[in-house]
Symmetry: C2
Subunit: 345 residues, 2 copies
Amino acid sequence: MTSNPETVAALPTPALVVDADALEHNLATMAAALPGVTCRPHVKAHKTTALAQRQHTLGHTGFTCATPREVVGMAAAGLGDDLLLANETVDADRLRAMADADARVTVAVDSDATVEAAANAGIKEVVVDVDVGLPRCGCLAEDAGRIADAARARDLEVRGVMGYEGHVVGNEDRAWRAEQTERSMIKLLRAHEIVGGDLVSGGGTGTFDLNTWCTEIQAGSYALMDTAYGKLGLPFRRALHVQATVISVSTKGWIVADCGLKALGMDHGNPSIDDAEVLFCSDEHITFQPAADSPADGTDRPGVGEHVRVWPAHVDPTVAYHERMHLADAAGRVLETWAVDLRGW
Amino acid sequence: MTSNPETVAALPTPALVVDADALEHNLATMAAALPGVTCRPHVKAHKTTALAQRQHTLGHTGFTCATPREVVGMAAAGLGDDLLLANETVDADRLRAMADADARVTVAVDSDATVEAAANAGIKEVVVDVDVGLPRCGCLAEDAGRIADAARARDLEVRGVMGYEGHVVGNEDRAWRAEQTERSMIKLLRAHEIVGGDLVSGGGTGTFDLNTWCTEIQAGSYALMDTAYGKLGLPFRRALHVQATVISVSTKGWIVADCGLKALGMDHGNPSIDDAEVLFCSDEHITFQPAADSPADGTDRPGVGEHVRVWPAHVDPTVAYHERMHLADAAGRVLETWAVDLRGW
């Protein structure tokens, strides 16, 4: 049902569109700030091996993954130099699939059960995941040595520690982020002292230049960005929007386009549209109103069939709804179409 | 990476699990209340032709769709007796694909542009979509005659009107829903008087037994239900949960399972877990705490590797993230595994 359009204007909608200039700026900025293996890009944000290949070409040979499917898919794409599953799993089939992948695979462990599952499946390398303040996975810093011992007792190589300050990365106050990152990393370094190993892995897009304690930063969102991270004053540009088509215009003032809840991650709230107020989203629709003083409120009011750019509030769960993304230049030409090939689990 | 498990316990997670008894109850209850074509089940809620087949077997031969892909997929599955795209589109390729499908296809129109696009693509039948109070698609009731005339001037058969009281269906106050439905349907009937035709289509799960004005009700969520509709006291049972696996247990009290933002529609807020408080969801995780007085807070506290049931707040965007759903009996046997084959656009 889809043709192979050469212009963004001809894409069937809703469509993920990546601004090639902004993407290149973002990738180059990160590669300059954290060259080589000091950035371990997180693929969960884009789930696209073609984009990961660009990060690899810029020198980031190690990658962070959130799911076994991301690990296996990255390996299949020839990007398996050093893949870290920065997440816990006890799924024996998936652990075996990762162990069998043509890649160097390291998984996070934070309990006896996750150590046992990894060892039983033939995984060779682990990091100890440490709770640094985000109420999620990770053992207490004071338990990290015990977990490392348990892993070594099962002949697992312990490469070091990881700890994600996810409760810090999204806060708009840079000074607060700096202070909280330090607090978190003091915990992680305490664990690292006991555990040993080369890796101290953590950080995210919101702390990429604040977290000077980690040996590698697990930033993912920097490549495509979203409106939530856009508020942080980071040196990365919004590179991803959802192109939508206006399908209805009400004489009462609102406009409806074909980009709804099944094309957008909604946990950070509504997406935004330039010069407009988004009223609400439903399954397949976004209803918005042009801002009172904008050209779109007057003669340039978009009509049925015209396109609008919808800026997602949260990039990761937005991308996960889409089968492909289109790389486009400033002239509106589609340069490449990439499969979002790491979706699912 | 997935095997073919015979029990729910062996499913890789996160997994959509459908309670076969609850589903049968829901389908039978609706088929008794609104037999045959008086219910036109909306497939957007489940996006699964195997489930639609069950609704068809119970006598509902007409279906409602939200996207062209749903229409084309239903036709390909042999369920094309009478498919209504209850949505506007001006996508010429997709309109042609629907016109060429082996099905009776009717599309909604609410403007000259949508009439023209439908006629140009070879669509034969339309309904006039009327704004009945939800700020989304639909022309004003007083414009419906003009739109119908424009359609007939292009040799389109006008089958009647539709108007969805989407601003009403989710409200927990039944008396308010009844009153607001009547107000909405007065508008729709006024349009119908001018437009003519056999169809007066509208309604949803929340108004299925209150909307006595429509000739057919476009209910979708009733089959699987969710926690939002669960608050309305409807005669339908929660039939869908996401099975998740506990991957981490903190000594500080919280528990983490592998069901996050990419497995759940979040626009209605957090999902729920029985006898627990959900703290937050992140991309691949749900963090929760057992309720203070529950067995799960004491000796029955779930451990790493155990399963929990996550009840989605909104079924439609939850299902759209998953490749398949598993029909299971009360004993935990997987009876059938269905592809969620109508995803995308």
